[in-house]
Symmetry: C2
Subunit: 224 residues, 2 copies
């Protein structure tokens, strides 16, 4: 019956528990608000106790990113386009569910889960029969799209904090010399009345996958 969520004093400290609680905290309050003292409080421990399981704060955040990465569904075997799409979409969802993670992802060394993730993408592309150079480029294109797009997307919803985009964008437009920025004004209006612009993430992803497919037909696939 006892919930383990906040400060059950009987629960032993472990690296896993620390990382899980840190992820939960970052999800709730943002990674900037995460401090060793506050996290320790939440775990019912002293701040310095965490350092038994964690080298330092950077190491901890690295571990958090890896924990999040482990949630991503890896590309299945078989038809590569669909598998890649599904996995990319899963990564997109996971990174949106932990809005701080994409940003950290880009500036830290990969842990074991992320290495496994990288491996799986590369394998999927290689087993699709892509030319070696195309695997190299395709890997960059796809992963770049996944985290780049998500970061960009999160940027839009993080502008102030919490309130809806509409009010912000409105104020934004009113403040600036809209007359000088007509296309931007239109674009923001489009954002306001979104919903029916559909699946942007998938749109660009398909541009990339189509391009890889086509490039492969031109130079590699046809040759074999």
């Amino acid at each position: 019956m006892a919930s383990a969520s906040t400060s059950d004093p009987k629960l032993a400290l472990t690296r896993e528990r620390i990382l899980a609680e840190a992820v939960a905290f970052a999800d709730e309050h943002g990674v900037d608000a995460l401090t060793m003292r506050k996290l320790a409080d939440r775990l019912g421990a002293g701040a310095m106790s965490l350092y038994t399981y964690v080298k330092n704060k950077d190491d901890m955040i690295e571990g958090m990113v890896d924990l999040v990465t482990a949630e991503i569904e890896l590309p299945a075997e078989g038809e590569w386009r669909g598998a890649m799409r599904d996995s990319a979409r899963s990564a997109h969802h996971v990174l949106l569910a932990h809005p701080w993670a994409a940003h950290e992802w880009t500036s830290r060394m990969p842990g074991p889960a992320r290495l496994a993730y990288m491996e799986s993408i590369l394998r999927s592309l290689a087993e699709a029969g892509l030319d070696e150079g195309l695997v190299y480029r395709g890997y960059h294109a796809v992963t770049m799209h996944i985290v780049g797009f998500t970061i960009q997307e999160l940027g839009y919803q993080n502008f102030p904090s919490g309130q809806d985009l509409g009010a912000v964008a409105r104020a934004f437009l009113d403040d600036l010399a809209v007359a000088d920025l007509p296309h931007l004004a239109l674009h923001v209006e489009a954002h306001l009345s979104d919903e029916d612009h559909g699946d942007e993430f998938g749109f660009v992803l398909d541009l990339i996958l189509d391009g890889l497919d086509r490039a492969n037909g031109d130079q590699g696939g046809r040759r074999g």
Copy 2:
């Protein structure tokens, strides 16, 4: 003969001088090492004096990002594919020259220079005759690619700090169970012997631009 670079006591404090010096400092030591005290020292001023010209540190970094953005060459009028490519390449160069900037770009409100930049991309796409929905999606695809790709690229060279990628990647591979990650091992080897993989940035950019072109032919361009 007197250089104005570091602490000429006669130079008046201005927002422009502060931002320029802050950018220079961040270029040299990274944005994490940038503190108000150290920056003030460099300017031959007291830390609190900066606050006359800058609301707070966040405001300052916003200004720094905007200053950097102003270096980007906007897309020229005329043939849109070439113009977009040139501008994207310019943005890519600028963001590589200020390695901290791409990361900040994604988490801060745009200032005047960035608004102008956004406007110019949107205008270029619109004047290319793209369908309204394609302008919306194309804008996101292109800008996402520029900063996403650059961030990813910088991630690779920021792993430790300063030393060359080769040694790091080697150590990296040796540590990990390479046998379990064969495709990743291959990929890292490819990174080690780079130089001839060519223009990755342009490769993906072309995938996107080609895709937009094609999508426009299918639904918009043909109709008009």
